[in-house]
Each structure stands twice: as structure tokens, then as C-alpha cells.
């Protein structure tokens, strides 16, 4: 099967010397729903910027549906849609004009673009807002507008950089449904996220990037299965200055009163409680929250 995206030994050093990407390689199959997971500063946005030719690479290769993005890459660009992490439309224009203009930049005439925009806007709940100035939209609607803009030329590969950051639960679930739907209709989707749950819900395959390197690239199920862990958040009675060391239970202190634990599913959580008591640590309450597992998760994958 053809690759929708193929990245080979991609490196990026920003002016000023930050080595954001230290030679990453991965490929995404056509039709896949792929998650790129990684902590802040891992290099996710840099990778996406290079794919979308918003950032210049230092070296390496990027191919979109087997077309090299170097040189004459018009065909590659026609097949790619990118939703950037940061808002990148003119705040003083009308919502509908922004999307129709973007279509025009792809060589799509206004008369051809309007019906497309109407259907995308209706699907994303933006139709009622089509005539307002973009700057008056709330954050969630600005995100939707970013997505509409990336879809107007009907790309075969859609890349979203943290599309659900700062979006409420309800809208997040709506977006998930929407993304699943367009993926089912044949669009390959890559998204970056900090939420493990999001990746788990949506994606079939996952790449984990940390410090400018790919540390895992595998099937979602395999990864979760092989790790077989649950995330727990403990609210503590009294503050700690550092995470305690407990054999067999990776722990991380999120703040002095919040401890996060990764517990293997075949281990008893009682054992962890005993060990904590022995150290004089009192737990006030406990939540089961895999979302917050991300960083521990990455540490474990690296080992």
C-alpha cells in the first residue's frame, strides 16, 4: 500500500541553535488515523511546519503520496491540509471570506468554493457565524474555522496540530466524531495531542516523539497492550518536595499535592498504598485518569 506520508531522517536546527528535530523517520499508510504524541517542545509542530512548507528543514526527505515536497511540489500541496496549532487567519475578515479566499489560493473559484464551504460550515456548526468578523469568534469556533479552512480544497491527507487544545469536552467529542467520519470517507488523518485518551479513541497507529526523536512507532493497541498500565492521580494530604521512589511503581509529582502513578494492570494497587503509608504519605483522594499518563508513558516507552 502507498504511504500518505513518508518522512526520512528529517532534521531541523533553528537559527539560534535549537536542535528541534534530530533525524526522525516514520511513515503513515494511506487511510490511516495516526497520532503523534509527545510532550511540549518535542518537535511535533516543527515536523508539521516542515511538511506544510511553513518551516524550512535542515536536511532529510518528506514525501506526500510519494511526491517529494522539494522543488515542484504543487501536486503534493493540493493533497495536503494542515490545521496549525496557532490561529493563522486574518482577524478582521468575515468568516466566510477567509475560507473562500483560502480556496482561491488553491485555485478554486468562488462559485465552486461556495457550495463546499456551505456544507463544511453546516457540518462544523459554523454556518450561523459565517458573516461575523473572525476576531469575534470564541476560541472553540476559531478552531472550527481553522479546520474548515484546511478542508476546503478536499485534501487526501489532513494534519491537525493539537486541534482539541483548549476545547471543552462536548466540542471535543463532536470533533472526534467529525474526524472519524472524514477518515472513514477516505482521508488520511494525522493529529498531535497531549491527551492519551484522544489518541486511544481515534487513532489506529501512534508515533511518540520526544526531544526531537521518534521513540516509538507502532499500532495503538499493541502499544497500550504491551504497556498494560492504568494511570492514577493521588491528591495528597500534605505537600511533598519530590516524588518518592517505590520499586515497581513509576511515580511523578505533578505539583506538591498531586502524585501521578502508572500501575501495571497485574499489580495490586493495595501494594502501592502500603508502600505509600510506610513512607508516611497520606492520600486524600484518588482518581483514575489515563490522560495524565502522557509523560510517564513516554518515559516508560523510552526504557
Amino acid at each position: 500500500m502507498a504511504f500518505a506520508l513518508e518522512i526520512t531522517d528529517l532534521k531541523k536546527t533553528y537559527p539560534g541553535g535549537v536542535e528541534a528535530l534530530k533525524g526522525i523517520s516514520f511513515a503513515v499508510n494511506e487511510g490511516d488515523f495516526y497520532a503523534l504524541l509527545g510532550p511540549n517542545g518535542a518537535g511535533k509542530s516543527s515536523t508539521i511546519g516542515i511538511i506544510g512548507s511553513l518551516v524550512t528543514k535542515s536536511s532529510g526527505k518528506v514525501k506526500i503520496f510519494d511526491i517529494d515536497t522539494d522543488g515542484n511540489n504543487e501536486q503534493a500541496k493540493m493533497m495536503l491540509g494542515v490545521v496549525s496549532q496557532e490561529i493563522n487567519f486574518s482577524q478582521f475578515e468575515k468568516v466566510i471570506d477567509i475560507v473562500v479566499t483560502q480556496a482561491g489560493f488553491y485555485g478554486i473559484s468562488k462559485s465552486e468554493a461556495l457550495p463546499r464551504v456551505e456544507s463544511i460550515f453546516k457540518r462544523l456548526g459554523l454556518w450561523d457565524k459565517k458573516d461575523v468578523q473572525a476576531r469575534t469568534l470564541s476560541g472553540g469556533y476559531k478552531r472550527r474555522l481553522m479546520i474548515a479552512k484546511a478542508l476546503v480544497h478536499e485534501p487526501k491527507l489532513l494534519i491537525l496540530d493539537e486541534p482539541t487544545a483548549g476545547v471543552d469536552i462536548e466540542l471535543r467529542r463532536e470533533m472526534w466524531t467529525f474526524l472519524k467520519e472524514i477518515n472513514k470517507n477516505g482521508t488520511t488523518i494525522i493529529l498531535t495531542t497531549h491527551y492519551l485518551e484522544e489518541a486511544e479513541q481515534l487513532c489506529r497507529n501512534i508515533g511518540i516523539i520526544d526531544g526531537g526523536k521518534i521513540v516509538a512507532n507502532t499500532g495503538m493497541k499493541d502499544l497500550l497492550g504491551s504497556l498494560n498500565v492504568q494511570g492514577y492521580v493521588f491528591d495528597l494530604d500534605s505537600p511533598l518536595s519530590e516524588a518518592p521512589e517505590i520499586e515497581g511503581f513509576p511515580l511523578k509529582l505533578e505539583d506538591p499535592l498531586t502524585l501521578i502513578a502508572a500501575v501495571n494492570k497485574d499489580r495490586s494497587i493495595n501494594a502501592l498504598f502500603e508502600k505509600l503509608s510506610e513512607k508516611g504519605i497520606k492520600v486524600k483522594s484518588m482518581r483514575n485518569e489515563s490522560n495524565r499518563l502522557e509523560e510517564l508513558f513516554i518515559e516508560m516507552v523510552k526504557k
Partner: protein, 259 residues
Amino acid sequence: MKKNFSVSTALWTLTIKEIRRFLRIWVQTLVPPAVTMSLYFVIFGSLIGPRIGSMDGFDYIQFMIPGLIMLSVITNSYNNVVSSFYSVKFQKSIEELLISPMPNWVILLGFVLGGVARGILIGCIVFCVSLIFYPDFTVANPPLTILVLVLTAVLFSLMGFINAVFADSFDDISIIPTFILTPLIYLGGVFYSINILPDMWRNISMANPMLYVVNTFREGMLGVSDVSIYFALGMIFSFIGILTGSCLYLLNKGTGIRQ
């Protein structure tokens, strides 16, 4: 499946977007030159002009008209491109262009056409204003006048583009117009013929590129010039060539727009 990309639609979209931008903010873009130029005509043309007498054989107000039109065309073309392209960079909506399949020359041409449209429109507005104050004005050589009008608008749109590429702050987009462009225009024979200057200042003035633009335009409108028209047109064309090359080079390299 191969989708074809239409360059002409993309160029049209960008150009119309640029024109809509300055029309939308017409109070800031179209009205000020009409007001300032009316003041120039009242003060220098009607009140002081008669005391100055004639310049190169023309009434002073008549002599001033081409100069003031050029002044307006230059500043407006320049400002349109510098402020539009800088704000596109600033708001990150440059990403909308970079992600699209538009080649760099289309991006450049779209912005330049926007600047040219504003320059020409302002030129026409100022000319109409001048007709209120000097209804008998006739254009000596219309084809040359139009040619120089368009070339000037192109030239200064390109300069504005380069300014915007290098600009990192809103200060950077006003420094060059204020400290370089405006003085050169004022000293480039907008208000006087360099023939009235002492030899030394006349020779120094010959090094001012604005002099050629203003005088070629005056040749078109009045039929007089302080410099050779062929030489001046040659200079204008060469400058346009060099600047176009530089703009494309900067865009291809991604200076100021791609990290």
C-alpha cells in the same frame, strides 16, 4: 487522481483580496491624500503660487500637479504593500499562502498588483482634485503619462515588499518611508525644477532616483523635464528588474517568512 491547480484563480483571489483591503479602510487610505493634496493646492498653488511666478515656463500650480501626483502614487503604493504584507506576516496568515500551491512569483505579483491598484487610484483622485483648482490642465503626452504612472506604482510596490520582508516590528515599516523615502521625494523636484538650484546642489540632486521618476512624469503631463527621458525610463526599468529579482530571491530563501 490528479487535481489541477489554477494559477490565474489564485492570482485573482490574492489581488482582489489586496484591493478589498484598502477599499475597506478607505478613510485611512483614500481620503487623506485627497485632503492633503487639496491643502497643497490651496496654500502653494492659489495663495503662494502667484507670488512665485512661473517655473520652467508654467504657472506654479500647473508645475506642481505632476509632482504632487507622483508624491501620492509613490507613498501609497509603497505603504499599501509594506503594511499589507507585514500584517499578513504578523497575523501569521502568511501561512495561508505558504501552505497553498501558489508559486512565489504569484504571491509577489498579487501584492504588487494590490499596491499598483491603490497607487493608480490615488493618482486619479489627486488628478481630479487638481482639476478643481486648475480646470484648464491638459495632459501633454497621455501614453507616456500612463506608462510612468504604472511603472512608478510597480517600482514602489516592490520596494515596500522588500521593506516588509525585513520588518520585524511596526517601527520597521515606518522608518524607511519617514527617513528615506519622503526626504528623497521632497528633494526630487516635486516642488521645484532643479534648474533653480546652484550647480553643486543640482549635481547632488542628479543622484536622487526620485528625480527621474518625477521628471519623466512631468514630461508626460507637461512636456518638460530636467533629465533625459530615455535615460530615466531605462533607470526605472532596470530598478524594477533588480527589485523583482531580489524579491523572488528573498521569497525563495524564505527570509523573514519561514523559520
